[in-house]
Symmetry: C3
Subunit: 471 residues, 3 copies
């Protein structure tokens, strides 16, 4: 059995000069509280504080980063316990799933998933041997045993991880029962919501019309009229701020297209959509118009707006039909920002009181479009490297391509954007290490002063995210 350890210098440059600087910078930020302003953990965990189920249900079954890699090498999703849409049976023995995972763990070599998982194994569960077929049962037993202890309940972990604030993400028709319960509880953790109205903004979303109807019921507005529909959004945003303590909205669209129609044009467009008479291009135009409407509302109510464009969702038709959304088959494509954001920026781009945080899956846009935009428009900030690019090389490319044009202060700190609660500290640790490594390189090459680097290390780890998200 090979030993598993986490080297204290991991992710720092091998150059001794750079490494020494990185170590010092990292020592100053390692223990800063975690600000997690965007993610997908389940608020029920914190409201009910129940124990997590078995190791497979915790680490494999819900994580498309993990199961997609095994799937890519021929392991059927059924054998990994991924539930089917029609309820047809899949593997339900956690140990069997875990063994299958262990058999294929070498596939993750060189990936960020391995970094996160190894951190969880060592730091959370105190395991000191590598995961492989021989050690699979040892792992399963050890993790299962720990999950049964009070120290592994969600609230205990939240505290142990040093989390200061954690944002979850809920749809517009969510009543936020768990956030409400948390508000009425005397637990001191801060778990807030984020308003993500995609299912009532994107006419192509499965269940759009049902969700729209539900939006009308919840808000008490007539959502068959354009003005009533906008009022319903305003009502839900207020509800999210009040009950969910939300400070931000989030918008995951296929493209970054925005529009700024006249009221009359918007009314007619909405009429076609709600009346199920949409024509070609109407869905895209409606999503585009709604980004501008949401920006206007943000200017009014102070919510920070996040735009996450560029994923071609559910690219694998068979997998989607059998297993549903979010199964590792969302594939990025080229994403235009310059033309697409024009209408929105014309309307609100010069507002210094507004914060719009842009994300991308198309790294080409970093230096060509996003950094020049964020380096000019007062309303824009750049979100951290996202999804596939939430990784050491992805973070390095982001700093290399963004910093010189946008500077550090037009970026919005780190997001972990994860469903995997246990990976949160591992992900923030990777980001802190990579940012310190980048600052160390600048210092070692005499491109940045020592004192500036020390200040920036704290900003990148903590300050920028807090301010950008108004936390």
């Amino acid at each position: 059995m090979a030993r598993l350890t986490l080297h204290p210098d991991r992710l720092f440059s091998a150059d001794p000069g750079e490494r020494a600087i990185a170590r010092e910078l990292y020592a100053s930020v390692r223990d800063l509280p975690i600000v997690s302003p965007h993610g997908h953990t389940d608020p029920a965990w914190f409201a009910t504080d129940e124990a997590f189920p078995n190791p497979a249900e915790l680490l494999i079954v819900p994580d498309h980063y993990v199961f997609r890699m095994l799937y890519s090498q021929g392991v059927p999703l059924e054998k990994l316990g991924v539930p089917t849409g029609d309820g047809s049976p899949v593997e339900s023995d956690g140990r069997e799933i875990w063994r299958r995972f262990a058999d294929h763990y070498h596939l993750f070599r060189g990936t960020p998933s391995e970094l996160w998982l190894n951190w969880v194994f060592v730091e959370c569960f105190g395991i000191d041997v590598e995961l492989d077929p021989e050690t699979a049962d040892h792992y399963y037993d050890r993790i299962a045993e720990r999950l049964d202890t009070p120290a592994f309940r969600p609230r205990a972990l939240y505290e142990r991880f040093g989390i200061e604030v954690l944002a979850t993400t809920e749809g517009a028709t969510d009543e936020l029962p768990y956030h409400r319960a948390l508000g009425e509880d005397d637990w001191t953790g801060r778990v807030i919501s984020t308003y993500r109205p995609d299912s009532v903004v994107d006419p192509d979303y499965e269940g759009f019309h049902d969700d729209l109807e539900r939006l009308g019921e919840l808000s008490g507005e007539d959502v068959t009229s354009w003005q009533g529909y906008l009022a319903a959004h305003r009502e839900r945003r207020a509800y999210f701020r009040e009950v969910g303590k939300a400070t931000a909205t989030d918008h995951g669209h296929p493209s970054a297209q925005t529009a700024n129609l006249s009221t009359r044009e918007a009314e007619q467009l909405f009429g076609r959509i709600v009346g199920r008479r949409a024509e070609d291009g109407d869905a895209e135009l409606f999503r585009a118009q709604m980004l501008t409407e949401m920006a206007r509302m943000s200017l009014d109510d102070g919510m920070v707006m996040q735009i996450h464009p560029g994923a071609r969702r559910n690219h694998n038709r068979q997998v989607f039909q059998r297993f549903g959304r979010d199964k590792g088959a969302d594939i990025p494509g080229p994403t235009d920002y310059v033309e697409a954001l024009g209408p929105l920026l014309d309307e609100v781009g010069n507002e210094a009181a507004l914060t719009i945080i842009l994300f991308t899956l198309d790294e080409d846009s970093y230096s060509r479009e996003l950094a020049p935009l964020a380096g000019h428009y007062p309303a824009l900030r750049l979100g951290p490297p996202w999804w596939f690019h939430d990784s050491p090389e992805g973070m390095r490319r982001y700093r290399e391509r963004v910093t010189e044009t946008a500077g550090f202060y037009n970026t919005a700190g780190f997001n972990d954007d994860t469903r995997a609660f246990l990976s949160i500290p591992a992900r923030h640790d990777v980001a802190r290490r990579m940012d310190c490594a980048w600052l160390a390189k600048l210092v070692a090459e005499h491109r940045l002063a020592d004192d500036a680097a020390a200040e920036l290390a704290g900003e990148l780890a903590y300050g920028l995210a807090r301010r950008a998200y108004r936390l």
Copy 2:
């Protein structure tokens, strides 16, 4: 005269820590056999085992990597002996061509061509001075002298180079006489063919209709009907497997577009093409449909499918008209994979028994499209960096952008893809060094365990290519 040597640490990082790890990894793979599963050497060389002609005919005249660089600086192709389409005379004195090449050898500084050529000069020909105008004749005499010796015959070089298997590439209407002869010979070298049917699949190919007619004759099928045409492909694929020992097909299309038409639509489309009544878009649609047909056939017959899209062939009209194809004027353009491969992947992307290897000339697609696709679909693997990107920086970019999302095991090892036989070991050596340098960086930064790196070095140099190509 400046001395020419090959430094034992070439291509490794200058950092002493990384370099030491790279040296050790490289020592373990340096002498592994060469698996060359995709290339363009001439099978006649191995079948007839005749001596190569003069140095210019061997190293300059047939190599568009080389003569395009001189052309870009104003040297006419005629003066480099590149044959014209109409037979009008060009320089035929090998020594004159060689001198011209030597006069301009500084143009290759910093290019992979220089790396390969210097390897050939030192390792194959034992030359120890730099090539420049003063040493040109010395070079010419030394190389010519060696080419006359038995040790420089193709089979002797094949053995000296440690080649285990070498794939050539032939068109669908090739009768594979040299592969047949090799099969009947008792030489132990393994030179296999690859089925490349572009000239009977791409209606825009020069001579498409003639080749189609020839395909009918060879296969005995009625290639004026859609079903007969498909049967002819099946027959030729079987012939390539039997006579050419082929394990793979190769498809060089302008785009990665695929289609999945109904049989009736496909018949009608084929009817227009074969009847010379093709409409706008028919050629692209037919190529697209044929990729899906070829994938279906691969699922039946087990041949590995390679897709090489993205070159705008023969961009220089004057050069094409005077000298024909493959003259250094094929220029890449943006290449979409996500939408383009949709129809094919819908049909066969979830088949773990199928292997489709994707290549690109558009490096933007590495992290945005290709790594996410290969990290999900069981049928997909990524080919190595290709053509202009078969170079140290190209290989580094590939590992940096692909590994974190697709892992190492969704890649297909190295291809040399060359017409220049003598460069084959040099190219594999560059790939082995760069891969070891990359692994060494991961180890030095504590992103990969030592034992995993050692195992991966062997996989990247040898194992992955063998398995991906079913050799």
Copy 3:
């Protein structure tokens, strides 16, 4: 107060081996004369040799690299003294503007602007403390005091900076009074013009028709006819060569689109444009045709042609309406070269006597399109990394992506492309350091011989620019 110094090893790798090589290479080129073949300084400075105004007017108000960064963080342009189009008042107190700049100087951390500005502070003005709110007045006083001295007059600085030749850029209707005056003066500095006819070539340019009329007056040609219009360009090009000693033209188009219409088609197109009957697409087609016409004229008159495509100009409508052009809101977009340049290259791409220098703001095109094009077509050379990419990381990416395919000799040396006269030596110093760092890496990794690196260092710093621009 933190000390401000320029480290002698700045921008070199932290690796001791690479650094030692870089130091030696840099020592050999540091003091070479500056060749500045493309820029936007004001020829009046050198003709009149008057003192520069106050520090804010010199370093902040005219430099969109600087004020855009403050604007992006909410500082109104009015408060930075940027003049409005309608003359409505803005901050006019230089000291107030300077203090505001000092308050936000941390925004430039990690940007090339900080590198250039710190060089100017230390090397030009002998300041040794960092700029921050506390030192703002010290800076202002020191700079203002120096600007009043004879050593800080434009001609004295030109000589102190070691400039050998400096190109400015003027529109087609400029009468070049300052270049004429310089020609009649006995000052030995060489300040030459560049012919930039955008305002009479681009029908979308503000004031196109007025400028066209003025072109007719100046040239004495009938610019309402296509032939007269072309003759007017020929006349102005001759004038620029004679009076402005110009050796080059420059073309800043939204795209790289070229066309090669028949004379009859071109006449009809020009008729619609000049007759204000332009249809959709006519402006783009006219610009496209004019690039080919300009290339033909260059073949006749020997002027080097520069093409700078890809900026979406004046992206911020409000800023444009209030402050006009060049206010930091020009945002790049994806730029195609392969299809776009086809018509021009078909016509003149094989002419070794012609030099066309291509620039890009879309770094994706470096390895995919520009290096393959420049590595083949005799007429093409690649300009240095431009605008946002005139920065350490931008320069590194350029060398990494361009060199292996195009070599060094198909590149055109460095351009500073600046309005900020004082930054010229700083920018050339950054380029020389980054190029030496790149060569040092190649040498340290045994990818380039020592003697070749030494020769290339001089070429990249000096020789290539002189030859490419025929200076």
